[in-house]
């Protein structure tokens, strides 16, 4: 089994877990966004976005910087007004509610703990402003400190905390007033790698324990893939695709998604035949320009003659010994790079395009060909995906 495959399998479980969570509770929509647009004087930050986020879901907005994900988050939080469209929280329109009247809290990128207050006072602040009773506030504060494992730090000042601890206090502070939705604006980006990886699991666990809807904003695809129930990939103010980590990675809807998430190979091609058309999953035969034919899948209805790209993930390609292969795809092995768990190979195809291959360093799948050898290329079943340009 390939490392990448394992991670995909784990992610593939997420939607099922989600279904388990919501079978006994009626499926409910926490946030519903309809035809939302946001314009600044001469920039369109969000362009007619519609999406709905389920109750108790870990939902991620993923995209490069400037794609509008933070603007969308700030609109949900109440810090930005909308130019057009509607935002609903559990069925009620919140577009006109100011930030302090929305039962939505945010974990900010730089934590922004109040420097003049102790850890406990920071956590209590939201509940005090909400007007909760003193006994409830104290009890809830202790509960939150325990949740983020900082019970011994109640009296510390934020300046006496490490980055990871400050991050956890910011999380506890936002969770303490029991918001209906928690927004997280790249909360892990200021931490170092090891801490970031540990916090991912912790965040996911806390989300499941508290049962609060999380909306997480990040530009880090790995973060998005490991934590989310569903991901919305955004670019240029538009949503490119919404789906589980597995769907986003294995069945990208367009070139942007295929390119942005993980590594991929794009090969120019033309559809020659539609084998099977079932609405959302169509099987096609594609002519790879100058190479030969391949079967590919597509989520859109496509007519023969359409041009586009076939996208294949590097780990779904295998290198075959030329001696016993009847594959139509051939190329010259140019480079082998040993990367620990796997080996990365670059193949120059007969049409001049270059192909990236990732092969695990297990005894069974080890690449035996040497640079300069002519090799055949095999692809896993259903690995090729046709995307319209």
């Amino acid at each position: 089994m390939n490392i990448t495959d394992q991670s995909i399998d784990r992610n593939a479980n997420s939607p099922e877990q989600n279904t388990l969570l919501t079978t006994d509770v009626p499926v409910d929509t926490a946030i519903d966004i309809q035809n939302l647009s946001k314009h600044y004087t001469d920039v369109v930050a969000l362009d007619n976005i519609s999406l709905s986020i389920k109750d108790k879901e870990f939902f991620t907005l993923l995209g490069p910087s400037g794609c509008g994900k933070t603007t969308l988050l700030r609109i949900i939080a109440g810090f930005e007004s909308v130019s057009a469209g509607k935002v609903f929280l559990h069925g009620k329109s919140i577009a006109d509610l100011p930030a302090n009247k929305r039962p939505i809290n945010t974990v900010f990128q730089q934590y922004s703990l109040f420097p003049h207050m102790s850890v406990a006072d920071n956590i209590k602040f939201g509940m005090q402003m909400k007007g909760s009773s003193a006994s409830h506030i104290n009890q809830r504060c202790e509960q939150m400190l325990a949740l983020v494992q900082l019970s011994d730090y109640a009296t510390r000042k934020p300046s006496q905390l490490s980055g990871g601890q400050a991050q956890r206090v910011a999380l506890a502070r936002a969770l303490a007033p029991e918001p209906e939705v928690l927004l997280l604006d790249e909360p892990l980006s200021a931490l170092d790698l090891k801490l970031r990886q540990a916090m991912r699991l912790e965040l996911k666990q806390i989300q499941q324990e508290t049962g609060i809807t999380f909306i997480f904003v990040t530009h880090d695809q790995e973060e998005a893939l490991t934590m989310s129930d569903r991901i919305a990939v955004m670019s240029a103010g538009k949503i490119q695709q919404i789906g589980s980590a597995h769907t986003i990675y294995e069945k990208p809807q367009n070139r942007f998604v295929a390119d942005f998430i993980g590594e991929t190979n794009m090969l120019e091609s033309t559809v020659t035949q539609v084998i099977d058309s079932k609405g959302s999953s169509n099987a096609l035969v594609c002519e790879l320009t100058g190479l030969g034919q391949i079967t590919a899948s597509s989520s859109a209805d496509i007519a023969p003659g359409t041009t586009g790209s076939v996208c294949i993930r590097p780990e779904h390609i295998s290198i075959l010994e030329t001696a016993h292969n009847e594959s139509q795809l051939k190329g010259t092995l140019e480079q082998l790079v040993y990367m620990g768990t796997d080996t990365q190979a670059t193949i120059r195809l007969t049409n001049g395009a270059s192909l990236l291959v990732r092969s695990p360093n297990s005894a069974a799948q080890k690449i035996t060909a040497q640079p300069g050898d002519t090799v055949g290329i095999g692809t896993d079943e259903n690995a090729a995906r046709f995307l319209i340009d």
């Binding site: 939080a77 934590y111 420097p115 402003m129 300046s159 936002a174």
Partner: protein, 284 residues
């Protein structure tokens, strides 16, 4: 000291260019310090003089300090001191409040028409010659028929203290990221609560610093006060000036030394408070 070759070269050229290496640097420094502080030193030393003369040394004593509090002119100076202090406190409170609100408008707001002009207008009084302000204020009061006295002094003081209070408050507010108020409002605080619970505490060193600066400026103002005070009321500086016109008695030196002490003390507090309370959280 930087030990790398490049660093060493940089240090050397910096050291060569340093003003410290100019001939006579030390002598000029001493001369300047002497010019600045010698008069003050003379006044301070002679305030402890045990002689009726202000130039002849007659040994150390505290008789003139005793005279300040129990002498023939005590009543006059006491009233003047009370006027000065009460005006300074009221002027400092008012101007600090106004300056805080001005800073809020200048720094915690989106761009608005006339923002940069307003910035210049707030700070311009610092550059206008005081005598011009004094004459203008007097003409203004008489033009509108405002009776000169305690109130006219207070109003004039509030006005000219505003830019002094504004500077440290604005500097402090600039250093406080607006994200803290956003966080507070995200956590159900109203705009007013975010201001009183978050911004004001974070701003406090700047406010105290601005308050003390305004207090000092008001306490020792002479020119404007002298113009707008009218007859029958004195502040400490105008009372001292009045006394000096009839010949300098050593008790003036004792009063001056006491005022100097108060000023130095407040400026030091202002400086220390202004620097304290780092507001940037530690980052890893």
């Amino acid at each position: 000291m930087n030990r790398t070759h490049k660093g060493l070269a940089n240090n050397m050229s910096e050291a060569n260019l340093s003003i410290k290496r100019y001939p006579g640097f030390f002598a000029v420094t001493l001369f300047c310090l002497f010019l600045l502080y010698a008069p003050l030193l003379v006044v301070m030393v002679y305030s402890f003089n045990d002689s009726v003369s202000i130039t002849r040394w007659g040994g150390i004593s505290l008789r003139w300090y005793y005279d300040v509090f129990n002498g023939a002119e005590t009543a006059k100076f006491k009233t003047a001191a009370w006027n000065s202090i009460s005006i300074a406190v009221l002027a400092a409170i008012s101007s600090t409040t106004i300056a805080t609100l001005a800073a809020l408008g200048m720094i915690r707001s989106a761009r608005w028409r006339g923002k940069s002009v307003s910035f210049a207008l707030i700070n311009l009084p610092l550059m206008v010659p005081e005598i011009v302000t004094a004459v203008a204020t007097l003409i203004f009061f008489s033009a509108i028929g405002f009776r000169t006295g305690y109130a006219s002094i207070l109003i004039a003081h509030i006005v000219f203290c505003i830019p002094f209070a504004y500077l440290p408050i604005a500097a402090r507010m600039q250093g406080i990221e607006s994200i803290y108020e956003q966080v507070a409002m995200d956590l159900y605080a109203t705009r007013a609560k975010a201001f009183t619970k978050i911004l004001i505490p974070l701003l406090m060193p700047g406010i105290i610093s601005g308050f003390l600066l305004a207090f000092i400026i008001s306490l020792d103002d002479f020119i404007i006060t002298n113009f707008v005070k009218g007859a029958g009321i004195e502040t400490l500086p105008t009372a001292i000036f009045g006394a000096v016109k009839q010949g300098i008695k050593p008790n003036i030196m004792a009063i001056s030394t006491l005022m100097l002490l108060v000023s130095v003390l407040l400026v030091c507090i202002s400086y220390i408070v202004g620097r304290s309370g780092s507001i940037t959280p530690k980052k890893e």
